[in-house]
């Protein structure tokens, strides 16, 4: 269920980029897409009855763990997403400084 929701979230991100002409909203859409992708990545490593991939002295060997690799990947992906978002926002701010609006449609043909 969550996996499907993740895919739809990803698609929503694309949809947001398709409809919105506002820079901030586009960055929001990108973030929605990233959240969707992250959940999807985690979901492909999930196992019913699996436990978090942390070994401890109390747990014996032979337990069922969820796949740790996707989690590691998502850690990386989240931080990368932050980098992109920060940069996007910085650009958005400088767009606002130049055109005095966030809306790409309202900028007119001012080259």
């Amino acid at each position: 269920m969550i996996q499907y929701a993740a895919i739809i979230l990803f698609v929503f991100g694309l949809y947001g980029l398709f409809t919105n002409r506002n820079v901030i909203k586009m960055i929001v859409s990108l973030n929605v897409m990233e959240v969707g992708l992250n959940i999807f990545i985690i979901s492909i490593g999930f196992t019913y009855d699996g436990i978090a991939p942390i070994l401890s002295s109390t747990t014996a060997n032979g337990l069922l763990y969820v796949d740790p690799l996707p989690q590691a990947l998502v850690l990386t992906a989240i931080v990368i997403g932050v980098g992109t978002t920060a940069l996007g926002l910085a650009i958005a701010k400088s767009i606002h400084k130049t055109y005095n609006t966030f809306d790409l449609d309202e900028m007119g043909d001012k080259e």
Partner: protein, 236 residues
Amino acid sequence: MKNLFGLLLSLVLGAFIILALNNTAAFPAFGEVDLADRVSEQYFTDGNVAEVGSANIVTAIVVGYRGFDTLGEVTVLFISALGVAIIFGEKKQERLDLKFKPNFMLRVGSRVLFGMILITSIYIIFHGHLTPGGGFPGGAIIASAVLLLYLTDDRFRSNVKGFKILEGIAGSLFVVIGLLGLVLVTSFLQNFLPAGTVGDLLSAGIIPIIYVLIGLKVGSEISGIVDNFLTEEESA
């Protein structure tokens, strides 16, 4: 109209992706993953666990097996911090004013809180190889502590230059540790310290060291970004 059309089209796309995944035999159904089919199973073998020495397998992967990814990820953050600075320009900047005047109590309170948050973050970073957490959340928490100071004190300006130096040195040390691995053992980022006992605080070889560096770097980078966002060009 365009809105609806786009929504429909993207929902169709979503449906197609879901259908395609369902039609794919090799794609495991949700929750029915068999680790034996994957590389991941090998991360749990005793030999590998002992070699890396980290109880948190995710940490073992992030810093150990796929440490190179993490270096790249730190670089992404670094480059975007750099980029934010370049885009905002390097002219003299002044702080963004706050709408309200913070009183004395708030300021002192936030200082105390700042210390506590910092300690938490240090804990998170140092236990990264044992419990969930590690360099990234830890670093982010450091940054949020700095953010707290920004929000509660309208005259607060962090030492941006200090962040830069910290950032640069932490990053360089990361690479240097990697290169030490290359020189001392055989490959880049290879562990050259004893792995210790799994579950101990002082275990997992270079993993805690690297996580500390990552924490510092992430913290200073995000703080730098926050600082950049909270300042603006001096209005002449």
